[in-house]
Amino acid sequence: MTEAERIVLSGVSKFYGEVLGVNNVDLRIGPGLTGLVGPNGAGKSTLMNLMAGLIRPTQGRVRVLGISPGNPEALFRKVGFCTQWDTFPPGATGQSLLEDTLMMHGLARRTARERAMEALETVGLTAAAGRRIDAYSKGMKQRVKLANALCHSPQVLILDEPLNGLDPQGRSEMIDVLKELAGHGHYILVSSHILHEVDLISDTIIMMHGGRVVAEGTIRDVRQEIVDQPVQILIRCDRPKRVAARAFEMAHVVGARILDQGGGVVVSTRDGQAFFAELPHIVLEENLAVETVVPADEDVRAVYDYLIGPEGGP
């Protein structure tokens, strides 16, 4: 993939005086849904603002599909950005905000009105289109921000905590919208501190801490890079204690935990591949009825805990 087909950050640093925003970040982001995770102050919003040109790097270079963020005329034809800020022009309604945005994209007023209503319908705000945004709830403001980012059908969507403030149904609907867009080859970068949501929506993750990228790639790839943490494998079967006993005969197995209700066992091993090779023999020899065998820590939460720590710091 060429630079014109990716979001590229090369050696990017941003300092606010002596305060670190992001430090020496190198990233290549392709199409699909990418989750940006990290604790507060990790540099997620700074990174997104750099991509949109709202701030400029102290060092390094940013290109979005080959376009410099210093060229808003070209950039925002391809990019939509849902920012962290919940502020809107005084007196603006959902419809007027989107209409103004679309007219700036060169649409005639009538077309802009139609497209604005389509975008508001996508986020479920049709009924509130004519109401002042000041009177919207937090969730509705979040939706109108999303609609504003989506309305000109950008190829790249940068979404800073887009699910904040949405109710469960709203979250589910929004995740469906994002997945559909990603399925059509859009580039969608989503930051969130709700890790299970990142798990639900992301193909790949970028994990940040202290202004640095600490991991990048598919969740499986990232997990496999963490060699100092044993792999955890969940086996749901009829006789988990027997599986645990057999597992402990293997030198690479370092632990086994029977689940509370006795329906399964989580085996910790330093060699996942060897365990998976051995497991069919155990099943056959013990005549086990196995329901599922899945990695128990190949998710964002586990990776986050290993790399950053459960409290947001190692």
Partner: protein, 270 residues
């Protein structure tokens, strides 16, 4: 649509949106009340002035020129423009809405031009009626019949047109300078005070610096010569055509500089 036409349309759209949002804003009501002050003064004069003075049309014409130059132009128009144009860009920073504007597909220098025209349209919408009302109501002290008589002569209409044109040019020039000031100052009173100080000193400054005194050029356009004592912008013998060119030139420079400043502007609401 060519690139230049598209850019012109974007500038027009920004101006239109800004005009609508500013004129519909609550703060504009304060500005309208502020710009109504000259009318109040004119009406007070009509009510309290002695009858003898009311009959002196020549004296009214001279006083009107003084009131326009010293009070309306240097106070109402000047501070009205300071409020409107400094807030045009800076107001978005204070309201935390600048990011929405900077996420639009428009060159930042075009954005600044659009915002300038939007604020200028608001300024003219508020200030021109204020000027017309001042001229008309100030003359009412001479009675309705006399006012109608004066206002229907070529000279009376010419003076009115001149005052409106000066108000418009003041908004054009001061507006551009305050738009530029808004890129650096949060409070419009700071650049306004600094610029007033500069204008007071302008007659004593070398020509290349003096040309940036909008008030000096406006003084050259007044239809009735006035002497404003120690507050006067003295020694302005600039021809009218040159004064207009200088105002437009200063305007172009200020808007261009504001555009350059906007190029490097970062969103920071902290």
């Amino acid at each position: 649509m060519t690139g230049a036409m598209f850019r012109a349309r974007q500038i027009r759209t920004v101006a239109g949106v800004d005009f609508r949002r500013t004129l519909g804003g609550r703060r504009t009501l304060g500005l309208v009340l502020f710009c109504s002050l000259p009318v109040v003064i004119a009406l007070v004069r009509t009510v309290v002035f002695p009858d003898g003075a009311r009959m002196d049309v020549g004296r009214t014409t001279h006083e009107l020129a003084q009131i326009f130059s010293l009070f309306h132009l240097r106070f109402i128009v000047f501070f009205g423009c300071a409020f409107l144009f400094v807030k045009s860009f800076r107001g978005e920073v204070l309201q935390h809405t600048l990011h929405l504007t900077l996420l639009l597909p428009i060159r930042r220098r075009d954005l600044i031009v659009g915002k300038y025209f939007g604020a200028l349209a608001v300024a003219l919408t508020v200030l021109v009626p204020s000027t017309i009302a001042l001229v008309v109501f100030y003359r009412l002290a001479n009675g309705v019949g006399s006012t109608l008589q004066v206002m229907t002569t070529v000279q009376g209409l010419g003076h009115l047109a001149a005052y409106v044109a000066i108000t418009g040019l003041a908004a054009v020039g001061y507006g551009a300078l305050f738009l530029l000031a808004g890129m650096f100052f949060k409070n419009p009173m700071v650049p306004a005070a600094l610029y007033l100080g500069f204008e007071a000193l302008a007659p004593y400054l070398p020509f290349p610096i003096r040309v940036f005194s909008i008030g000096r050029h406006l003084h050259a356009l007044l239809p009735v010569p006035v002497s404003l004592g120690p507050l006067a912008v003295t020694g302005s013998d600039t021809p009218v055509w040159l004064a207009i060119i200088l105002i437009l030139g200063v305007t172009a420079i200020a808007v261009r500089l504001a555009g350059w400043r906007a190029q490097g502007f970062e969103v920071d609401y902290s």
